[in-house]
Symmetry: C3
Subunit: 467 residues, 3 copies
């Protein structure tokens, strides 16, 4: 057995019993995954996953960055090079390298997610190590060849009620259409992520604007046409199931400039002459514009700020984005969000979900804001904090100020499909551990805790994301 059935529950017997009872009441609820990065193509084509290395190592920046941090080269792990040059092609050798360094993951959520997948998805019951690496590889490989391990079969087995993917504004959403047209009942929806046409510092911004004009038939050389193009794309995304948009900016800055100033700023950024400050101001203005569109079309606005992307220039040059070198930084919310909140923060029918990579904001800024503004909800602990301790700190730092009902349930936010059940399980266990602590210390009645366990697992996500 790889996974302790009581893992993440408190050790003290009364607490453990309470946590287990709460967990038992919600562990079989279906999974709502309203924010993530799985590839819709998997479910459209329903082809088998190529091999264990492609499934667990090559695409997962949580995994390969840890190996890199201890001196393994990205090319030795098969991570593609930006110049298309040679990298390791043999999945068994990649797997072996991974297995040899598996001790690096001790105490990390990655270890927990991986071992949960190994056991509960693939039926392995001994720890991964250099010695058993090839046996494990062969075991997983043989399973991947079976129909029960095709993407749709796994989706059903994982008991996923809804899975949201994330597509850029220019995406043709063909895979989503293909899923819908296939008659398969799995519910997979898209999310509107327009960074490439909202962020003036994005690679190819000018070309992206032109493409946006073409795809929508709007004149994106004008501010009005540009906004109309967004509205058009949002409508198309809604037709493909989207209930939310998502925005990943370096800061939480917002602006509310007025139409004339905004139009002038758009001309600046369109010209390619914008300063870094102007680019940032433009991104800030667009959050407020997106919120106004949300008032009209009902999409939920998700803000994921604070990652300093591509911290290593060398890694970015050699391998491109999302290679484990995105590092959080301090993020201010109180001043940054004021223009947005002055514009739309009191709207009870708007939902803005805030995320953070700066945990100092939980108690100081985010919980006080969410505990006052009707439009705000707090998203779950994100990225580096999607973990037992991360969830514990989140609950401890926010609940006393904004309660549970200003939070938005769990997101797995993953591109590692097989980790979805594991991640939701960690969140469910962590929340039940927290609730049990409240019950046993007289801060919550037992009946309330059972209700909350259900809400944190299912009800809050369903409500916040209009699922």
């Amino acid at each position: 057995m790889l996974n302790d059935p009581d893992r993440l529950f408190p050790v003290e017997p009364t607490l453990r019993e309470t946590a287990r009872a709460l967990y038992d009441s919600i562990k079989d609820l279906p999974i709502l995954s309203p924010h993530g990065h799985c590839d819709p193509r998997w479910f459209a084509e329903n082809q088998r996953f190529p091999n264990p290395a492609e499934l667990f190592v090559i695409p997962d920046h949580y995994v390969f960055r840890m190996l890199v941090s201890q001196g393994v080269a990205l090319t030795d792990l098969g991570v593609p090079r930006a110049d298309g040059g040679a990298t390791e092609r043999d999945p068994q050798r990649i797997w072996q390298r991974f297995a040899e360094k598996f001790h690096l993951f001790r105490g990390t959520p990655s270890a927990m997610w991986l071992e949960h997948s190994f056991e509960h998805v693939f039926g392995l019951d001994t720890p991964l190590s250099a010695e058993v690496a090839q046996a494990h590889y062969d075991h997983i490989e043989s399973r991947l060849a079976q129909p029960a391990y095709l993407p749709r079969a796994l989706f059903e087995r994982f008991n996923i009620e809804l899975l949201a993917t994330t597509e850029g504004a220019l995406d043709d959403l063909r895979w989503h259409r293909m899923i819908r047209d296939s008659g398969w009942q799995g519910r997979i929806v898209t999310t509107y992520r327009p960074d490439a046409v909202v962020d003036p510092e994005f690679e190819g911004f000018a070309e992206n604007l032109a493409a946006l004009g073409e795809i929508t038939g709007e004149d994106t050389t004008t501010w009005a046409g540009y906004l109309a193009a967004h509205r058009t794309r949002r409508a198309v995304f809604k037709e493909h199931g989207a209930t939310a948009s998502d925005h990943g900016h370096p800061t939480a800055r917002t602006e509310d400039l007025g139409a004339e100033a905004a139009a002038a700023l758009y001309d600046r950024v369109r010209s390619g002459q914008a300063t870094a400050e102007e680019a940032d101001r433009f991104r800030g203005q667009m959050l407020t514009e997106m919120a106004r569109m949300s008032l009209d079309d009902g999409l939920v606005l998700q803000i994921h700020p604070g990652s300093r992307r591509n911290h290593s220039a060398t890694v970015f040059d050699r391998h491109g984005r999302d290679k484990g070198f995105d590092i959080p930084g301090r993020t201010d919310y109180v001043a940054a969000l004021k223009p947005l909140l002055d514009a739309v923060g009191l709207e009870p029918d708007l939902t803005i979900i805030l995320f953070t990579l700066d945990e100092t904001a939980y108690g100081r800024e985010l919980a006080p804001l969410a505990g006052a503004y009707p439009a705000l909800k707090l998203g779950p602990p994100w990225w580096f904090f999607d973990s037992y301790e991360g969830i514990k700190r989140f609950r401890e730092a926010t609940t006393e100020t904004c309660g549970f009902y200003n939070t938005a349930g769990f997101n797995d936010d993953t591109r590692a499909f097989c980790s979805i059940p594991a991640r939701h399980d960690v969140a469910r266990r962590s929340d039940c551990a927290y609730l049990a602590t409240l019950v046993c210390t007289g801060r919550l009645r037992e009946a309330e805790a059972f209700e909350l366990a259900h809400d944190l697992t299912y009800g809050l996500a369903k409500a916040a994301y209009n699922l």
Copy 2:
């Protein structure tokens, strides 16, 4: 029973037994409340509290902001409008709305304070809900009509040894005089809070300065006269029992400009032409001036920085100050306090009590400062952090660096009179839980813990505030 008699104690039996023994030794000590916002008029007139909604909902920004955050309108809760326009007048309907949303408070200190009051002040023993709302209302209403529920009777029943209120520099302190002249023995003292005549950005600052001149007979058109006016008012406040002044600035900035530069700055801010930077500098200068006056008259200097007041322009315009939209922000202490500390920080007879809404400062800045400068003490966790987890984080982050004896005991800081026993009880339990943990992990001897339980509950506040 609404409140678990062992609430907030650790669950593990040895720890719980130790915490309970510590708590039993101090739970009946009288309450010292050296900082708060109760209305002295209550005790001067000793009239009955009007109704449950006026007592628990309408004046309590902790309560109504949470309802607002989930879409309830302030006007539907009877919160007065700045323009005097219509709001809900029916206290029973307000109470019903409150009861329907009571689940929002699950896991918050507000729930704990309210349920403690419901049970221990009013004798209710079932949880509030939509169904029982009117029965609870009637129950509380019938009690409020009884003599035992008049303000002075409750004050005595709560076993309050001293209650400090907070008045502006221009207040005539009539209620304090009326209490004193009444012959009633309850000890209620004022606190000097001169923000309206210290903060150039306060509404009506120029008029306030004129009024300060009038009230004191000093020429507040000069820097020397202005300082003399403060000295005069401080003396009057001392006559009305004050042992402390209090200052709520957006930052912890201090200055020590020298007389000439300070006088020139005073002319600027008096002219109404001061920039935001000059206004901030002036506030900073006044903290140092107040500290110098404290060296003469012995008043304790309390600094409560870091709240960005009135974050929502709309809520401020509609309803004015203190409506739950005050949001903390990052607060620097190390550079900000240096001018003040260079001036008076080594004075062993001065007491400056520092508060924070930025918990990151506890271990990084506040405990190192308080663990070195003789003039500094740390105030208890404030506002959003006046809670079990808030107190726990405070103790864990400060004790190892500045010990217990550089802290100043508990403040309830409340305008919700009936919550005073509840708040002190939460603090006592939380501190005993922390002490028990130290004892059972060999970090403190049991006899020391009993002494400390008494000090944290009573002795430190008495000493720090010269009570």
Copy 3:
């Protein structure tokens, strides 16, 4: 008995048993102390320590700052004055003052270190208090006169395998030579700490540069000669055992200016005309230069940023450096380290160990950086955070992101020789408590925990510092 044999272990029996078993497996491992501030002269001359006050109070800023914070004068504790003026000379009176205030240390690591020394080094078994002060003094004094209490004897009794001291770039390293030439087997190595010739704001910087030139025979009036002089000194330090350099800057700023700009900047700072900004830029440039030299000579680069030294101007004027008035401030790492990391961060053979006094950086910046860049490791909790809660927060905030293997084992970082066993014992117990929690909550297998206990105590320090 002064020290609970189960101190710092969790209270719950299963957890405690697990923690104790882990601790038992590593408690007798030799001490590696790769970073600290003991005086090598003690071991060179092997003279007796003068008296209890000189051993425990006068040189220990942890101890005297706490007494100062409660109104005791530094001069009354025998702390030397900068002007050479009179201070208390009677060690027994200093000791008595210390004993009278010993309750101030309740709940602090200082209490734990002191009581561990009192019991385990000196055989005392009753708590220090005013009453027993002189008896304790006499007891310790009588022991200090015995051969078993000479520095080398204690070193051996403490089971220290290696002790690193810290010397300035201009130090002649005579004591290290004297130790080596004595034939004594104790392994004491130096560390290259060039702040006085790297920081343009250091007292006597110009003279220091001249001295550096003289000592090395290099022309330190040129950038090339200055760098060569560093290389020369590093080589000499290596001959005296150094495996690391150490750098204590106010910020973590780094630069990588290119040779020409760096040379021009060196001319500026050498001229004494540099602005504060230029001084800071120069310190930043030198970190990158030191890292490049590390690539050549293999010394580990330690960065200890974030202390605002000598916060009280008065204390600095009266008593000089290191008098307990060094206060941490916010420290940014993500932007600050980028030039250094772009230059050398991907080098697998380089080791840069990062420390912080700003705990908010653990999860937000340091763990993500160390979990990606091969050259980076995290140093243990430093200074104010070298404590049970400090270690707990460090592990909880970093392990989930960068694992254990991107950390560098424990440092005692002390000038209080007798506290070395106590400090390592606290770290060992704290780590075992953390590991036990992981085991009992299903986050780590027991066998892994035993391996990790050994690594955290011994293996990681040995590897990170090339011992």
